[in-house]
């Protein structure tokens, strides 16, 4: 089995590229937190007023906002919501009602005032709260705590608790263009856009950024995460800002985008999950949310228009690869429910602090590893960049990203154009995800088993297939092995062509790789997606879960090789 374990990471820990925390852009931002919130407020107001030039339109939007907010408070209240939520919004409602009694001029003024109140509140809600001391503390907690847990539980002797035999670096593999990202972070602003599968992503990526020697990033984390106190603590101290997906009103969305836009312009390295929410189906994201992504493009254009030497914005796609995703059973259930009946379901998290700790314990007591693939740097148009940050065309010729914003020889603001650029960038990121995605043996065995069953019942649609009794499903091991070898070969070839990546444990004897995959796929779940029965054949205890894990391999046209 040893051969199959991931090779030990030989890389030494990376040195921080900026020694002192006070030099970090994120620190600068939070030191001047109030000024920054005011700046965001002012800019967002200008933007909203440009989008709603007539008072009537603006008031319509404000009324819609109040209506939705009060609805949200009534129906879907979270622990992370401010205490005075209902008071604030009923106050706004009254002010809006009073507008009717005012003269044109007064009403104009009052409407702008209301807008400012709302936007300022949103900006304060969104703003992160990075503190130097708690960052250091949280960082050492993560490092120390996880490390001890890891060593203690793996060696199973009490004394081992304080030895450093295994480190987090062995557990979590970071592969890909680390050096390049370090260089780019020195010259410009990095916007990291990872895939999103688990609530663990947010903490994991914080640690990854730190261990690559990069200064803390600001990141857009779903407000739902802040409901869980232990995570809220880490998130706050790691520089997260809050994204509330329940709020879909214009003032909120514009404020959020302005926050990200201005932070990027100020050189704060940023991170958000462009899929918007965790992938419910287990698929690698195909459709990205364009809102926050557009802020990278807008910030870049603003930087070109500003005086002085323009800073460049670099987009870095990242994929996170797990053998097991804690929330998989609930997520796939939700996904199938929605897909099957086309009904909305409210987003909830079923884990409190205790559930989280239990999960973390399981996670660290199990030899299952995680890998993080860092993609190559892109400019905001999705062109690859070299180590100096120059954008390259397909032939390797250096091109100037500034030229994309030029019309008739001059830099210009054209929102429609930038919307289109955002769409193009999102497509590029999705392509990069598929290229840097690191196939685990567990993903592959899940894919092959599910596809083989699908092929056995060609007339059944997905839902009928999933309803088959699990006892009826059994795959002959030899048959399975043949298919595994065949598909693995295709994956080898695809890697050579740069279309995909795979973990080292996938190589070697196919019996061992299959065993590794079956042992690891969905390893923490009560019902395992795949197990071997006494005859040595492959069976499943939960077909829906298997479907979740196999989805990871969808999008490569591998189905034809089953």
């Amino acid at each position: 089995m040893d051969i199959l374990e991931e090779k030990k990471n030989k890389n030494k820990p990376y040195k921080p590229i900026l020694e002192d925390i006070p030099d970090w852009p994120v620190y600068q931002l939070s030191k001047n937190r109030n000024e920054f919130i005011n700046e965001v407020t002012q800019h967002a107001i200008v933007r909203i007023q440009a989008l709603r030039p007539q008072r009537k339109q603006l008031i319509d939007d404000l009324e819609a906002t109040v209506y939705r907010e009060q609805n949200r408070i009534k129906r879907n209240r979270w622990r992370a919501d401010p205490k005075d939520d209902s008071k604030f919004w009923s106050g706004i409602k009254n002010e809006l009602v009073e507008l009717g009694n005012k003269s044109q001029e007064e009403a104009d003024k009052a409407a702008s005032k209301i807008l400012e109140k709302i936007v300022h509140r949103y900006a304060s809600e969104i703003a992160g709260n990075f503190k130097q001391t708690s960052y250091k503390f949280a960082r050492s907690i993560i490092k120390f705590g996880f490390l001890r847990l890891l060593n203690g539980t793996r060696i199973k002797k009490f004394g081992a608790f304080f030895r450093n035999r295994y480190t987090l670096r062995d557990k979590i593999q970071i592969v890909g263009k680390v050096k390049m990202i370090r260089q780019l972070a020195r010259q410009g602003t990095v916007v990291m856009v990872p895939t999103h599968f688990s609530n663990l992503d947010s903490i994991l990526i914080g640690w990854v950024i730190h261990s690559m020697g990069l200064p803390a990033f600001i990141y857009g984390a779903g407000l739902n995460l802040f409901n869980i106190k232990i995570i809220a603590y880490f998130m706050n101290s790691l520089g997260a800002y809050k994204v509330d997906r329940r709020k879909k009103n214009l003032p909120y969305l514009e404020t959020l985008k302005m926050y990200s836009n201005l932070a990027i312009q100020k050189g704060a390295h940023s991170l958000f999950f462009p899929g918007g929410t965790r992938s419910r189906s287990g698929n690698i994201e195909k459709q990205l949310k364009l809102g926050l992504l557009s802020t990278a493009i807008e910030a870049q254009r603003s930087l070109y228009m500003a005086e002085g030497v323009p800073k460049k914005v670099f987009i870095v796609p990242v994929t996170l690869n797990y053998h097991c995703v804690l929330e998989a059973p609930e997520m796939i259930e939700d996904y199938l429910h929605v897909k099957g009946q086309d009904r909305y379901f409210p987003e909830q998290d079923r884990y409190g602090s205790f559930g989280m700790i239990k999960f973390l314990f399981k996670f660290f007591t199990n030899p299952s590893s995680i890998s993080v693939s860092i993609g190559p740097g892109l400019d905001v148009m999705g062109n690859y960049v070299d180590e100096k940050g120059n954008s390259l065309d397909a032939t390797g010729r250096i091109i100037d990203t500034r030229d994309y914003f030029i019309s008739n020889g001059d830099l210009s603001i054209d929102r429609q154009r930038e919307d289109e650029y955002t769409r193009m960038l999102s497509q590029r990121i999705v392509i990069e995800y598929h290229k840097i995605n690191r196939v685990f043996a567990s993903h592959l065995v899940a894919f092959i088993a599910f596809q083989m069953w699908q092929k056995k019942y060609p007339k059944l649609d997905l839902f009928s297939l999933l309803r088959l009794p699990e006892e009826e499903l059994e795959l002959d091991y030899q048959e399975f092995k043949l298919v595994f070898k065949r598909v693995r070969k295709v994956i080898y070839k695809m890697k050579e062509e740069g279309k995909i990546n795979f973990a080292t444990h996938l190589k070697g004897k196919s019996d061992l790789a299959i065993q590794w995959g079956i042992d690891n796929v969905g390893v923490f779940h009560l019902n395992r997606p795949l197990v071997k029965n006494k005859k040595g054949n492959i069976i499943t205890k939960d077909l829906s879960l298997l479907y979740y894990y196999q989805n990871r391999m969808v999008g490569y046209d591998l189905e034809q090789f089953i």
Partner: protein
């Protein structure tokens, strides 16, 4: 957004064929034009004799043989090159292009890349990964992203006589549409806009198939009933094929779809129509091709569309029969007989 800052900058046109020359003449009404011709002799001829392919050349036009010069001096370039040379031209031009360039093409054809060892004749089926529109070729070969396409009922001869006509400019970018409109519009030339560039491109290409069929009907001596049948059923077939290839139905109902279709089917002037006409008169394809000075895009389109229809399992009867006539020696009469006997029911089922 004003054009004043660079209104003295010339507009580029690549390709001095019939359509390229006519478009250059229209552009020259508003702006200086740099017209690229592949053939050095043509360049000389245009610059000295002020004439090309029997079109008089506007005094604002300068011909050149230097693609680098076109890229250097022009921000906006109109490639008007036959589809079979388009990719090769782009490969040469691409080295000189920058992200600020805007390309608006007027080529109605597909680009086909088949796996090595295969040819477009030998390959049994084609899918969308192998068949590209010109805007997709531009994206693949260059850094240019602001791309537009020009399509519509634009017979070169009528445009040259300044008869009233319209075109559609399609692009994902408002900016491109706006610039295209400003450059092309005049009191005899109306310009419409469309956001579905791929749909418009596909409509413009597929109508060439029906144009050949129209020529064939005319060659057999049939009249207006037959033509009405062909145009309406042809439009339906275009929509089926177009949807399989990623276009939206709407594009097919506009100037670039129905508009262009009606024109080409009624126009003995068009090359595609001529091919069909002469086939119906019993001439062999090779013989017809030998005395045409420019490429009839429709012939290649039939080949490509037939193989795509097979791959995507689209029922495209007219295309399929034309394929047999063009490449498998079926007579026009028996193709028509087959179509008239085929049991069909629903008139319209795509809206």
């Amino acid at each position: 957004m004003t054009l004043s800052s660079s209104s003295d900058k010339p507009v580029g046109v690549i390709g001095a064929g019939n359509f390229g020359t006519v478009i250059a003449n229209i552009l020259a009404i508003n702006r200086p034009v740099l017209l690229y011709a592949r053939n050095q002799h043509t360049v000389k001829h245009i610059n000295q004799k002020r004439e090309n392919r029997k079109h008089e050349i506007h005094s604002n036009i300068t011909a050149t043989h230097d693609l680098a010069q076109v890229a250097r001096e022009c921000d906006v370039i109109f490639p008007m090159v036959p589809s079979e040379h388009f990719r090769a031209m782009m490969k040469v031009l691409a080295i000189h292009l920058q992200p600020y360039h805007i390309l608006i093409h007027g080529t109605k054809g597909f680009d086909v890349t088949v796996p090595s060892g295969e040819s477009i004749n030998s390959i049994a089926k084609l899918d969308r990964h192998m068949v590209k529109t010109m805007s997709e070729v531009i994206r693949e070969e260059s850094v240019v992203v602001r791309i537009g396409c020009l399509a519509g009922p634009n017979l070169s001869k009528e445009l040259a006589q300044r008869q009233p006509a319209a075109t559609v400019i399609a692009s994902h970018f408002d900016e491109v549409i706006l610039i295209g409109k400003r450059l092309l519009r005049n009191d005899r030339f109306q310009v419409y806009e469309n956001r579905d560039i791929v749909g418009v491109e596909i409509a413009g290409v597929l109508k060439n198939i029906i144009a050949i069929a129209a020529g064939a009907l005319s060659g057999l001596g049939y009249g207006e009933n037959a033509k009405g049948l062909l145009v309406s059923r042809g439009a339906v077939e275009m929509i089926y094929l177009g949807r399989a290839l990623g276009g939206d139905v709407k594009a097919f109902l506009g100037v670039a779809g129905i508009g262009d279709l009606v024109t080409t089917c009624n126009s003995p002037l068009s090359r595609n129509f001529t091919v069909g006409y002469r086939l119906a008169k019993g001439e062999k394809l090779q013989h017809i091709l030998n005395d045409m000075s420019e490429i009839a895009e429709g012939i290649n389109t039939v080949r490509i569309a037939k193989k795509c229809a097979d791959h995507y399992k689209v029922r495209a009867l007219i295309t399929d029969r034309l394929y047999k006539v063009l490449f498998e020696g079926m007579t026009v009469e028996s193709a028509l007989e087959f179509l008239m006997r085929f049991p069909l029911s629903a008139d319209i089922d795509f809206i």
